[in-house]
């Protein structure tokens, strides 16, 4: 049993509905719960891959303005856990409740088609997610990709691709971020950008759950470290 204590968040503002949030549980049941100060909560969640159970009876909560740094050795099931939390896969048992405000998912794959340019990839993503494409230009500018926006993604370096994937977090404001190794392949400048982005997100009372083998470039007071495995 692993329990994470959440301090009550200081303020509450922004686009997140304050009460009566409907959380979609995987499978059949839909429960209406009050998640006023939580963006994500699990209850005795067990996660597996194939016929192997990797994590048992996990209770995690992510509050507004809070960052949970998920750390563990390779193969402990961090990615599997994140996939279950995002709703891509079903848990072995237990349940996950998420805020209705929506979430950002950044897997270890960048979701960029190599034949399309950065801009085309992001425009497609906006159409898919029903969000405004006008924010793309500014977001590209911020992550230093403005000049590369017409380059096919195939020709970008690993770090540039990672930045292009991170651009999505700036295009659409969403309260919950689930990031799997966001710092992979980033240089010092990229690292600083991610730190800034996370800081701003938390200040707006957003929450994030991030796996990383490196220390996250965020202030200590908002950080919760969660070691698994």
């Amino acid at each position: 049993m692993l329990l994470l204590k959440i301090p009550r968040p200081r303020g509450y503002a922004g686009s997140i509905p304050a009460s009566g949030t409907i959380a979609f549980l995987p499978l059949l049941s839909i429960h209406s719960t009050i998640l006023s100060d939580l963006l994500l909560r699990t209850e005795s969640l067990s996660v597996g891959r194939g016929d192997r159970v990797l994590l048992r009876e996990l209770t995690i909560a992510v509050g507004c303005g809070q960052l949970v740094h998920l750390r563990g050795r390779n193969g402990t099931g961090k990615t599997s856990l994140l996939e279950v939390l995002a709703g891509l896969r079903s848990p072995v048992s237990g349940k996950v409740e998420r805020t209705a405000g929506g979430l950002h998912w950044l897997g270890h794959k960048n979701a960029l088609n190599g034949d399309l340019s950065v801009l085309e990839n992001l425009q497609f993503w906006c159409a898919l997610q029903h969000c405004d494409a006008s924010a793309i230009a500014g977001a590209l500018e911020r992550l230093g990709l403005a000049k590369l926006r017409h380059r096919p993604c195939r020709t970008l370096s690993a770090g540039q691709k990672r930045r292009a994937a991170l651009v999505r977090l700036l295009i659409a404001p969403r309260p919950l971020w689930l990031l799997d190794e966001p710092l992979a392949a980033l240089d010092a400048e990229g690292l600083a950008y991610v730190g800034q982005m996370l800081d701003e997100h938390l200040q707006r009372d957003g929450g994030a759950l991030v796996t990383s083998h490196q220390a996250l470039p965020v202030g200590r007071d908002r950080l919760q470290l969660l070691e698994i495995g």
């Binding site: 499978l27 891959r49 194939g50 016929d51 192997r52 079903s90």
Partner: protein
């Protein structure tokens, strides 16, 4: 009712239950098939049109019948596996496929053997025979798909989806083949006239059918038990099961 269902579907409970029932199924299958074979192949009178060749129905008809109902049963298990994600149902899906495929193959082979004296050729593009051949391909697709997956659970669910699409396809295949067969040839192929069946012929046929059903169920149960042991090999109940067997000295 629901909790009872879940209890039954839990691997250890089902495993014990299968252990208790499968010997009975085996005995019933052996008795019925034994009676059916003796009654059908020896005691029943020869058909006045087909002579002794008709006796192949005692194998062919049950095999053909089970090949089809086996596929439907597989699809039914697939529904349970996909909607409720019950591990036992996943095992049933992958366990039925090889057994059903063997019955389909048997129906095809006996159909061909029967075709030689009746139609003068081992293979005639008869509607039912062709539909049976497509059914065999559908079974083989499920088996092939299951073997391609490394993760047994994802593999079983993929097989379930294929079985579901396949089961919608089976009646379509059946009617399209009938239509195809009737397009030009008309009723030239002599359908075997339905003989008015005498009790001495009927009872062995019924016994064979139910006997094969029992055998089918027995074979599927054995496979389901094996699947359960493999999938649950890390769980406590399988370890206990092993210890019990080792203590009894038969590992």
């Amino acid at each position: 009712m629901w909790t009872w269902f879940h209890r039954l579907a839990s691997p250890p409970t089902f495993y014990r239950l299968a252990d208790r029932f499968s010997p009975w199924l085996a005995v019933i299958a052996a008795l019925l098939i034994g009676y059916g074979l003796v009654g059908g192949l020896v005691l029943a009178p020869a058909d006045y049109q087909q002579g002794d060749a008709f006796r192949i129905i005692y194998v062919h008809v049950p095999a053909a019948w089970l090949s089809l109902s086996g596929y439907v049963a597989m699809a039914a298990a697939a529904v349970v596996a996909i909607i409720w994600r019950i591990k036992l149902a996943e095992c049933v899906v992958v366990a039925i496929a090889p057994v059903g495929a063997s019955f389909t193959a048997m129906a095809l082979v006996t159909g061909m053997l029967w075709g030689k004296p009746m139609w003068g050729a081992y293979w005639v593009w008869d509607a039912r025979l062709t539909a049976e051949l497509v059914l065999l391909f559908l079974y083989l697709g499920v088996i092939g798909l299951n073997q391609a997956f490394e993760d047994p659970r994802a593999g079983a669910r993929a097989c379930g989806l294929l079985a579901l699409v396949g089961v919608v396809n089976v009646p379509i295949v059946h009617y399209s083949v009938e239509w195809w067969n009737s397009l030009h040839q008309g009723p030239t192929i002599s359908r075997i006239g339905k003989p008015s069946i005498v009790p001495a012929m009927l009872w062995p046929l019924l016994a064979m059918t139910f006997g094969c059903m029992a055998f089918f169920a027995w074979a599927v149960l054995q496979r389901v038990q094996n699947e359960l042991l493999i999938r649950e090999r890390r769980s406590a109940w399988v370890r206990n099961w092993r210890l019990e067997r080792e203590a009894a000295g038969n590992v």
